[in-house]
């Protein structure tokens, strides 16, 4: 990790770049700094805190936030008195660990790298653009970033929302959307794709703070096109947040309020006053975009974002350099995380031959063997956590109390047990005191157990000879006003842990080898991309396609919104897949059965028809689900009844034909036909773009064609907004409709009639166009059966659910299973490709590692005691216990890699034949005994 660094230049070729960096001095020695914060307390100079958007004051010597990585303070040279004026230096003697070093100089460093991933993020809209909304002139006009910090409970106002002008709590607030986006005035024609979501989020958070506050969101289109995002908007409306479709012209101070002037669709100018105005500012290209372009040679698009193509969304114009995140185009966190993984896959392909050469595996000393005859020597370490624990709990008392216990041969206190020097101290103590069990009383094992276990390994102890007691989250923090009771509780918990620790046995580390092959379900663009991306990284896959040829939905598409021809891309892609020696394509095929677990799946694929029907069995390590989706056909708007009513996909096919009337003279398009509350209750994300794409094609063929689009929100997010604008410029009329006033289509003979309410002219309109085109949405392909077979959860709408929307966007909750494409959610082709590349990166990880490590806390069966009753097998929720024949007797056996360590089997086994690593009966019983062996509880005045 290289922080505080400027990227100066890039030389060389893909596989062999030299990157030149300038590392600016922090003026603090990172190894010595303990992040105690004393320096900030003593620093006399004020410094506007950029982390809090300048809403608070910090000092030149500071850390942005407590969880910052690296957790080292730094000195901002722009305001430091010593650096600017050669005075002061108060911080130097204050620092107990002598970490401050004003002699640090900028360091130039060369990095030899094979590939580059660009993820510089986004920039902020210039303040001048915000001036018309009185930003900078009136203190109660804030940006959404500032507002985010204002609402944060850990922020400068502890989450109390107040007007800056006079400190009153705002009773009426306005959010103004599209500030600095969809705005040609500041040359940002694109849509920033995230502001609708964060505005709704901030509005909801505000309502949580104060349900009485009146909130209005002024918008042009609400673009909550992500999966399940519309639900949040509906929730916002349900709790009284108002959505007003209007363009805000300006904001002017008016007494102690702010006056908004806005125009609604029907051309009226209106005014409204609010106490506070939040500007939903867009995402701009990063400030150093031009610089990066100059140093690396990558091309930018007309908005200075990184230029990429629809079918290679993460590839820059330069070989060896890939891009991910908001620099590729404004996007939200899940999209960014997905692209990050996708970019990793591409970089991995570039560096394939050098894989594993630059990394070092850590060596541990041989593990000390421990037998039952050895004396149990427990060391207890009580952490003060600075003052987090010690200000409430009497740590010396807790430590001393533990010292009275049997088997405890050593006890001590530490300021921060997790700090580097404390870790060394623990290691040394283990050796000096010949400890063979360690108890640490500090914070949560959920966050810190791995760290301390690593320390044990370094000291030559098995990592399971460890027990952690949470005297912070469960004691000092929650009983802050009852220090004696908190101390008593800490003593009890430590005693219980010590008594458990005495019974802990070392557990062997278990690893399971991985079959280096993937099973990819679905031969559309997603599945093909996954298989190819894996093949290019060196891994084999079986590609299972249910129809007779691969290609999926791409076979039905003609061109993309950006103008690329689909057919030629598809041809190249399928040719690559078919030619690849690492991809085994099985068509007319479906997954019939699958068993196993991450690293070791075994699946049966049924393929062929009639006589040629056959079954093949494959062993593989991972599964990628890319089963896709298809256009929904609602039984609405005379679809299927009148020849003059078609879907967007049918229109696209017609437009590519040669027939004369393929681009009729008058067309009405109905968006969200069957979606967002009709038979599908979600937004399909692609239909608005699909409509615009077809419109531009029609206008190309027949410029005089009259096109009316009836829509709810035009969701041409990102750079597609340009095409929307182009369509408007070409005279296409866009009329929004309300959900309770959907257009009505009737047919009589060959004629088709559309009745709708024109919200612009405010009148009922009846038309008989040549053609009605419906934007019908997307449904997933047969996810129900697969969901049962692979135990994969789906959303209410049948799309597969990822393990975590932001942290694990392409992984399924089941280990070794990955999801991408339309099976995950409706999305355009470039997003599908990026997601497929991401899935290929994630799926490659276990294949690269070659082994899956199993946490040794899993269950194990003592087969001598097993009577073969099978209760455990029937109860195990993960299918991790099987019955097998041993010497003609039924015996249970755990499949460690599938076991999640829940312990149901152990608690139900009638002969106590099943034991849980780290949670044996013996350990837990002795922990319970320790709970009772002293009347410790003394009444405390509440």
């Amino acid at each position: 990790m290289v922080t505080n660094a400027d990227f100066l230049a890039l030389e060389g070729n893909p596989g062999n770049f030299t990157a030149k960096l300038n590392i600016r001095p922090r003026y603090i020695d990172a190894d010595a700094c303990t992040a105690c914060g004393l320096c900030t307390q003593y620093c006399p100079k004020h410094h506007s805190d950029p982390y809090n958007e300048g809403l608070s004051i910090t000092r030149p010597i500071h850390i942005d936030y407590a969880q910052a990585v690296p957790a080292t303070y730094y000195i901002d040279p722009s305001t430091c008195m010593y650096i600017q004026h050669d005075t002061c230096q108060i911080c130097v003697p204050v620092c107990q660990s002598h970490a401050i070093n004003f002699n640090q100089k900028p360091e130039l460093r060369d990095l030899k790298v094979g590939a580059v991933i660009l993820s510089p993020g986004f920039g902020k809209i210039a303040p001048e653009v915000l001036e018309k909304f009185s930003y900078g002139k009136h203190p109660d006009v804030v940006t959404a970033y500032e507002y985010e910090r204002m609402t944060t409970s850990s922020g400068p106002f502890l989450g109390e929302i107040k007007c800056f002008s006079d400190g009153r709590h705002p009773k009426s607030m306005a959010f103004i959307q599209c500030v600095g986006s969809r705005d040609l005035g500041c040359d940002n024609g694109y849509c920033s794709s995230v502001c609708c979501m964060y505005a709704i989020k901030e509005a909801l958070v505000t309502k949580e703070h104060d349900p009485e506050v009146d909130i209005t969101i002024y918008y042009m289109d609400i673009r909550t096109q992500g999966r399940d995002f519309d639900a949040a908007r509906e929730r916002a409306e349900a709790i009284g947040i108002k959505f007003v479709r209007a363009k805000v012209a300006d904001v002017t101070p008016w007494e102690n309020h702010l006056k908004l002037t806005y125009s609604t669709l029907d051309g009226q100018h209106k005014f409204d006053s609010h106490d506070m105005v939040v500007l939903s500012v867009g995402l701009e290209s990063p400030k150093d975009a031009k610089g990066i372009s100059n140093t690396t040679g990558i091309e930018l698009n007309n908005y200075d974002f990184c230029k990429t193509e629809t079918f290679t969304p993460l590839q820059t114009s330069e070989k060896g350099i890939v891009v991910a995140g908001a620099f590729q185009g404004p996007k939200d966190i899940p999209e960014s995380a997905t692209q990050a993984s996708g970019a990793a896959a591409l970089a991995s392909i570039i560096l394939k031959t050098q894989r594993g050469k630059g990394t070092e595996s850590k060596e541990y000393p041989d593990e000390l063997s421990i037998t039952d005859d050895d004396e149990v020597r427990i060391g207890v370490f009580v952490c003060h956590c600075g003052i987090n624990i010690s200000s409430v709990v009497d740590c010396p008392d807790v430590a001393e109390d533990s010292g009275k216990m049997k088997n405890v041969t050593y006890f001590t206190e530490q300021l921060y047990s997790c700090s580097q020097d404390s870790q060394e101290q623990i290691k040394q103590t283990i050796k000096d005191q010949k400890l063979n069990r360690v108890v640490i009383a500090a914070c949560s094992p959920r966050t810190h157990e791995p760290l301390f276990q690593e320390t044990l390994k370094d000291a030559g102890l098995n990592r399971n000879l460890f027990e952690m007691v949470n005297i912070r989250d469960h004691c000092s923090w929650v009983h802050a006003n009852e220090p004696e009771a908190a101390t008593d509780k800490s003593k009890d918990l430590v005693r219980m842990a010590v008594s458990k620790a005495a019974h802990i046995q070392p557990l062997p580390e278990q690893t399971v080898p991985v079959t280096p092959k993937a099973l990819v379900l679905g031969g559309g663009v997603a599945g093909m991309t996954v298989a190819l991306t894996l093949a290019e990284q060196g891994f084999e896959s079986v590609l299972v396609e249910k129809s007779s040829t691969i290609g999926g939905n791409l076979k039905k598409l003609k061109n993309t919104l950006a103008g690329d021809t689909v057919a030629s891309y598809l041809k190249t892609l399928t040719a690559k897949v078919n030619k690849s020696a690492k991809i085994d394509v099985v068509t007319d095929a479906a997954l019939a059965q699958t068993a196993g677990f991450i690293g070791n799946f075994n699946s049966i694929i049924e393929s062929g028809k009639g006589q040629e029907k056959k079954e093949q069995t494959f062993d593989h390590g991972v599964i990628v689900v890319a089963t896709g989706g298809h256009e929904h056909r609602p039984d609405l708007y005379e679809l299927g009844k009148s020849k003059k009513v078609v879907t967007q996909q049918e229109l696209e096919t017609n437009l590519a034909g040669r027939a004369k009337g393929r681009a009729p003279n008058s067309i009405v398009m109905i968006q969200c036909a069957g979606s967002r509350g009709e038979d599908l209750n979600y937004c399909s994300k692609v239909c608005c773009n699909h409509a615009i794409k077809n419109i531009l094609k029609i206008k190309e063929i027949n410029p005089d064609s009259q096109i009316i689009v009836l829509y709810r929100d035009m969701r041409t997010y990102g750079f597609a907004e340009d095409s929307y604008l182009e369509a408007r410029k070409k005279g296409v009329i866009f009329i929004p409709y309300e959900v309770d006033r959907r257009p009505v289509v009737t047919s009589q003979g060959t004629n088709v009639q559309v009745d709708f309410f024109d919200s612009i002219m405010q009148e009922e309109v009846s038309m008989t166009p040549d053609l009605v085109t419906l934007s019908v949405g997307i449904v997933p392909d047969g996810t129900a059966e697969l969901s049962k077979m692979l135990k994969l959860p789906t959303t209410a709408n049948g799309f597969f659910l990822e393990a975590h929307v932001k942290l694990r966007p392409v992984e399924a909750a089941v280990g070794g299973v990955y999801i991408c494409g339309l099976a995950h959610a409706p999305k355009p082709v470039e997003e599908t490709i990026a997601q497929a590349q991401a899935a290929a990166a994630k799926a490659a990880i276990p294949l690269v590692k070659g082994v899956v490590t199993v946490d040794p806390i899993v269950s194990s069966v003592e087969q001598d005691n097993c009577i073969g009753c099978g209760i455990c097998t029937s109860l195990c929720p993960y299918g991790a216990i099987i019955m097998e024949k041993v010497d003609k007797k039924r015996k249970a056996r755990t499949i460690s890699a599938s076991c999640k360590a829940c312990g149901i089997c152990a608690s139900r086994c009638p002969t106590f034949a099943i034991s849980m690593g780290g949670f044996t009966n013996e350990q837990l019983i002795s922990q319970i005994e320790a709970f009772g062996n002293k009347v410790v509880y003394e009444k405390v005045e509440a």
Binding site: M496, I904, M916, V940
Partner: protein, 68 residues
């Protein structure tokens, strides 16, 4: 509060994934609650053998709490 007010001794079995995590979260948000609980962490409340509960009562618990 008078001296003879009842202060129960409670033994709790907390699931690592939910209830133990919730207890951590209570700490992070400084949520104050009575200090009568002593906890045993398990990887899942499925691990809680009925005999553990009986053992807890035998050892003098006034109440047993399982959270999972």
């Amino acid at each position: 509060m008078s001296d003879n007010s009842f202060s129960p001794k409670i033994l709790g079995f907390l699931c690592n994934w939910c209830c133990y995590a919730a207890a951590d979260a209570a700490g992070v948000s400084r949520f104050q609650y009575p200090p009568n609980l002593r906890t045993v962490r398990v990887m899942c409340t499925g691990r809680v053998d009925p005999s553990f509960v009986l053992k807890g009562f035998l050892e003098g618990a006034d109440a047993i709490f399982t959270g999972g």
